[in-house]
Symmetry: C2
Subunit: 161 residues, 2 copies
C-alpha cells in the first residue's frame, strides 16, 4: 500500500512508525507477518504510488498487476522494490491505536539504498534523487534541486541578524 | 525547539505526534503544560529554525533573543509564531517511549493558517509557500514550485501503462 503518515521515532535503536487504518489489507498483513518494509520512491514513480494506493490489495495482486520489480530482502520476507531509492526492512517492535489509525513501530533491521541517492554522511542527495512528496488529495510534488542550504545550528544559535 | 520527526497519526479525532528526546527542555515543558503548538515555517525562515534548534532553551529566552513575533493562541497557552504558514495548537493526548525518544501525541484543538498558503481543499499551495524541509545534518531544502502533479488513485489503480 501507499502510506502518507510516517516518521522516525528513535535513533538508537533505529525505530520508525507508520500509520495505517485498520480497514486496510496491509494492517492484517503486518500483524500476521510481524514485519514490513518501507519503500521510498522518487517522483518519477508517482504514477506507481497512485496505482498501488488506488487498488485494493485484498482483490488484486499488485506485484503482478503493476509488474513490480523486487529485490531480495536481507533480514525479512518483506517486499523490496527495485524502483525505491531507499528501503527499510523492519521487524514489528510494537503497535498502538491512536484515534482511527494504528501506529506500527518497526525496528529497522536492514536497509537498501540506490547508489548516489545519499551523500557520504547518509543525507539524501537532492542533486541525484527527486523524492516523491505527498501533499494530500492525490497531489504529489518533489524538492527543488538548487534549494539546499547548510545552516550550522551552533553558529545560528548564537544569533543570525 | 526545532523538531524533525513528526507525523499525523489519526484523522478523527485529529491527532499528531512529535518525537522528542528526554534530555530536551521541551520534553519537560510539554509534560508540565500538557499542551504544545507545532509551527510550520517556510524555507525563508530556515535561519530561524537553525537558531532555535541550536540554542539551549534552559539557558536562553529564545523569544527574546531571536525577537520571535507571536500571535494569540486560541485554545492553549502555547506559542504561535507569526512566521509560520501553519500552526497546530495541541492538547497532549498521550505519550509513549520508543527507544531513545518520547512520542508525544496531541489532539489538534485549533489551527492557524497564513492566507493563500492552502487551497480551498486544505492542501498546501506550493505556488504560494515554500515549506522548509529538513534533510538532516543541518541541511534544509524546499519544494519545486512547478513539480505538483495530480494523479487520481482510482484511475491509476486500474493501471497506468
Amino acid at each position: 500500500m501507499a502510506v502518507a503518515w510516517h516518521s522516525s521515532v528513535s535513533q538508537n535503536p533505529p525505530l520508525i512508525g507508520v500509520s495505517i487504518a485498520p480497514k486496510r489489507f496491509t494492517y492484517e498483513l503486518i500483524l500476521e507477518a510481524q514485519e514490513f518494509a518501507i519503500n521510498f520512491l522518487p517522483i518519477e514513480k508517482a504514477e506507481l504510488i497512485a496505482a498501488v494506493g488506488g487498488s485494493p490489495g485484498r482483490e488484486v495482486d499488485k506485484f503482478q498487476k503493476f509488474n513490480l520489480a523486487k529485490e531480495q530482502p536481507l533480514k525479512t520476507t518483506a517486499p523490496i522494490l527495485k524502483d525505491a531509492y531507499a528501503t527499510y526492512e523492519c521487524k514489528l517492535a510494537e503497535h498502538q491505536t491512536y484515534g482511527d489509525h494504528e501506529w506500527f513501530v518497526g525496528e529497522i533491521v536492514a536497509t537498501h539504498f540506490m547508489e548516489e541517492s545519499f551523500n557520504p554522511a547518509g543525507i539524501l542527495d537532492l542533486a541525484h534523487v527527486n523524492p516523491a512528496l505527498f501533499l494530500g488529495a492525490e497531489l504529489y510534488a518533489t524538492t527543488a534541486k538548487g534549494s539546499v542550504r547548510h545552516l550550522e545550528r551552533d553558529r545560528y544559535g548564537k544569533g543570525y541578524k
